[in-house]
């Protein structure tokens, strides 16, 4: 059996990748994907703990996270499309005004 620490390390690496991408990338889509990566890093630690402690709560929590992530993706992508339509760019450095 794979020890718990492996999962946690992998989860940490995934999360760190997400944070890094979130901070350094300029494209909104990429930032969006980084957020998904962070969420899934956390999800991985949830299921790892759930399996380790033999409880279901962690797994239930993951479903919640996935539902929220799906909703967020729907709304987020809609915003991104709208941003692209109005500004013709997806570079966040150029999207710094609320008002056009």
């Amino acid at each position: 059996m794979v020890p718990l620490s492996y999962y946690l390390v992998l989860s940490g690496i995934l999360f760190a990748c997400g944070v890094t991408g979130f901070l350094i990338k300029r494209n909104i889509i990429t930032i969006f994907m980084s957020i998904e990566l962070m969420l899934n890093g956390v999800n991985l630690s949830f299921v790892a703990f759930a399996a380790h402690w033999h409880t279901l709560s962690g797994q239930v929590f993951v479903f919640f996270v996935m539902v929220v992530a799906a909703a967020e993706a729907a709304v987020g992508l809609a915003i991104i499309i709208s941003v692209y339509r109005t500004r013709e760019t997806l570079n966040v450095d150029q999207v710094n005004l609320l008002k056009l």
């Binding site: 979130f22 901070l23 300029r26 930032i31 966040v92 450095d93 999207v95 710094n96 005004l97 609320l98």
Partner: protein, 656 residues
């Protein structure tokens, strides 16, 4: 008493008049304003007459409780305190009631003529009715607190009316001066009231006097009652224009003449005398306070009379004369002859109201001129005004058997019994009074008219057209102004007769009781002698004035130049205004400028507010850079925040 349930209506009626005219007067016709302005005080006067006719000494004092006002503490405990909207009717307030409503109504009638061309006609009557309300509240009050409300209210009305022509700078500042000087007096009055509450637990006249009555006369030295008495006198000094607070009254002549007659001669300024007389129970037990009252009264009487000699403004002469006559009333109070003081108050209201209204008629006749040097010879132009002015002058000069003779004589007699020194000064003042009043009369009505005369004699009638003031010959005032003059002249003629055999004093006896110091009734010869001397003095003043201003008109100038700097000092009112300005006003203004404005206001208050705003701006100047609008910097802040949070949690974990 059947008639007295209407007592509360007497002050309320003028208030209703003031309210109606105040709210609707601007849009109403002048006729409607006049009707309302006259009907309400007239009704009050009628009611007062009705009450006076049905008045019986047996049921006085009568208290009518209208409503509760202040109740605190619990019944039976020492902390129980009440002050109610209640009215108090006894002989004293009845006399005041008749004087105020009667003279007040006459002056309202007169004002209809005098103010007829004023654009703020309705405003004038609103204030005048408001004044009546407050004055009647003052004299009908059942406790010191209600009295104080009236006291402040008449001050307000006085301020509004002195500054009635507020576009004129001098009128506006005269109003302020009156108000501020009165505040100083009110300060003393208030502290006196606080002392009364502190020690007697009530402001109700009946309660306070019942508690004071058993206390002995403070003959050994000053005590509580002396302190209260002197503080009340400070208040009276402010309202009744006594030394050292008299300075506002001459300036108050900036107001319209009917105001000078009503407020600054007949009624409001006598409020101080009324208050002292009302508090006679306290004063009788505080001989030192009484002496203070008497000395202030004598000094003021003499001091103001000497200033009166030199004034050339017809209203200023009358103003100083008022101050001087009020001094007489305080002398009377100070020697314990309260009824004599109230008697003089009443006769003074008649003849001084008449003098002011007559002066108003003169001013009206010569087109707004107030300088007596530019008048003269008016007796042929305005004979009616001349006649009434002659009566009033004779009355104030103390020529028998006119009103002023009786009351002044009674005061002088009582003053002589108390201390001949008071009598000497009082008699000298009577002489001076007679002199300057006849000086006024001779300067105004004798000799030749020295005013601007545009028309020749043939066009004299054209000058009667209204709105023609300042042109043409002096013209007689309309009937609406003359009628009140005639009524007051009648009162000045016969008003003193109630004092024969001290009848007036006996009427007030239930209020003032027997004065503790036994009055020697047997000194009839002295009384006659004193009367003779004062009559002699009155005629002496008349004669001197006649010599100086009619038969040898070149003499006054010679005398004044020979007196040199002393004369200058008197003309300049002894430089009292200047001294006050140097001693009090300038330090206050300078202190306010340098300490309160530059120091406290600008350095402390303004700076603390500005600094708070500045530091907020500086901090936010830094902090606002966080809000760049750049998404990635937000992300950075979130990450940094998360890192700090995690670091904190790890640190906490390690510490455990």
């Amino acid at each position: 008493m059947t008639q007295n349930p209407y007592l509360w209506l007497i002050p309320t009626l003028p208030l209703a008049g003031a309210a109606i005219n105040g709210f609707l007067g601007r849009r109403s016709s002048k006729k409607a304003v006049t009707t309302i302005a006259l009907v309400f005080p007239g009704l009050a006067f009628a009611l007062a007459l009705k009450i006076a006719l049905g008045f019986s000494s047996a049921t006085a004092p009568y208290v009518f409780q209208l409503a509760h006002w202040i109740r605190s503490g619990s019944i039976g405990l020492p902390n129980y305190f009440t002050a109610d909207f209640a009215f108090y009717l006894d002989q004293l307030s009845l006399v005041m009631l008749l004087v105020v409503t009667g003279v007040g109504f006459l002056i309202h009638v007169y004002s209809v003529g005098y103010m007829s061309d004023d654009p703020s006609y309705y405003r004038f009557f609103t204030y005048l009715n408001l004044f009546m309300f407050f004055m009647l509240t003052l004299i009908l009050a059942d406790n010191y607190l209600m009295m104080f409300v009236g006291w402040e209210g008449v001050g307000l009305a006085s301020y509004l009316l002195i500054g009635f022509w507020f576009t004129k700078d001098s009128a506006a500042s005269a109003g302020k001066k009156a108000f501020i000087v009165n505040r100083i007096g009110d300060f003393g009055f208030l502290i006196g009231l606080f002392l009364i509450i502190q020690h007697f637990g009530s402001l109700n006249f009946t309660d306070v006097f019942a508690k004071v009555a058993p206390l002995g006369v403070e003959s050994s030295g000053p005590g509580l009652l002396t302190a209260i008495g002197i503080l009340l006198m400070v208040g009276a000094c402010g309202k009744s224009a006594q030394i050292p607070l008299y300075v506002w009254l001459p300036d108050a002549m900036e107001g319209p003449t009917p105001v000078s007659a009503l407020i600054h001669a007949a009624t409001m300024v006598t409020a101080g005398v009324y208050m002292v007389a009302r508090s006679h129970v306290i004063f009788e037990r505080a001989p030192i306070a009484l002496t203070v009252v008497a000395i202030i009264g004598t000094l003021t009487a003499l001091f103001a009379a000497t200033i009166g000699i030199t004034q050339t403004d017809i209203k200023k002469v009358l103003a100083y004369s008022t101050v001087s006559q009020l001094g007489y009333m305080f002398v009377a109070c100070g020697v314990g002859a309260f009824s004599a003081g109230i008697f003089h108050l009443m006769t003074h209201a008649f003849f001084k109201g008449l003098l002011f209204l007559g002066a108003g008629s003169v001013i009206h006749a010569v087109g707004g001129e107030q300088d007596m040097r530019k008048m003269g010879g008016l007796k042929t132009y305005i004979p009616t005004t001349f006649t009434v002015m002659l009566i009033a002058t004779a009355a104030i000069a103390g020529i028998p058997p006119l009103a002023g003779f009786w009351s002044k004589d009674e005061i002088l007699w009582k003053a002589f019994e108390a201390n001949p020194a008071y009598w000497v000064i009082g008699a000298i003042t009577a002489f001076i009074t007679s002199f300057y009043m006849f000086r006024l009369l001779f300067m105004t009505f004798w000799g030749d008219y020295k005013g601007i005369q545009v028309d020749d004699h043939g066009h004299a009638h054209a000058a009667h057209a209204h709105g023609d003031h300042g042109h043409g010959e002096p013209h007689e005032s309309p009937m609406v102004m003359l009628a009140p003059l005639m009524v007051l002249a009648l009162l000045s003629l016969v008003g003193g007769l109630v004092g024969i055999h001290h009848g007036f004093g006996h009427f007030l006896e239930p209020v003032f009781g027997e004065f503790p110091q036994a009055v020697t009734e047997g000194s009839g010869n002295t009384e006659w002698l004193l009367m003779g001397i004062s009559v002699l003095f009155s005629f002496g003043g008349l004669a001197l004035a006649y010599i100086l201003y009619v038969s040898k008109p070149y003499l006054p100038e010679k005398i004044s130049t020979s007196l040199g700097s002393f004369y200058d000092a008197v003309v300049n009112k002894y430089y009292v205004d200047e001294i006050y300005a140097k001693l009090f006003v300038k330090p206050l203004v300078d202190g306010s400028n340098s300490i309160l404005w530059q120091g406290v206001d600008r350095k402390v208050i303004d700076d603390s507010v500005n600094n708070a705003a500045d530091s907020a701006r500086h901090v936010s100047d830094e902090v606002r850079h966080m809000q760049s609008g750049n998404l990635r910097s937000y992300a950075g802040w979130i990450a940094a925040g998360a890192a700090v949070l995690i670091a904190y949690m790890i640190w906490k974990g390690i510490r455990q």
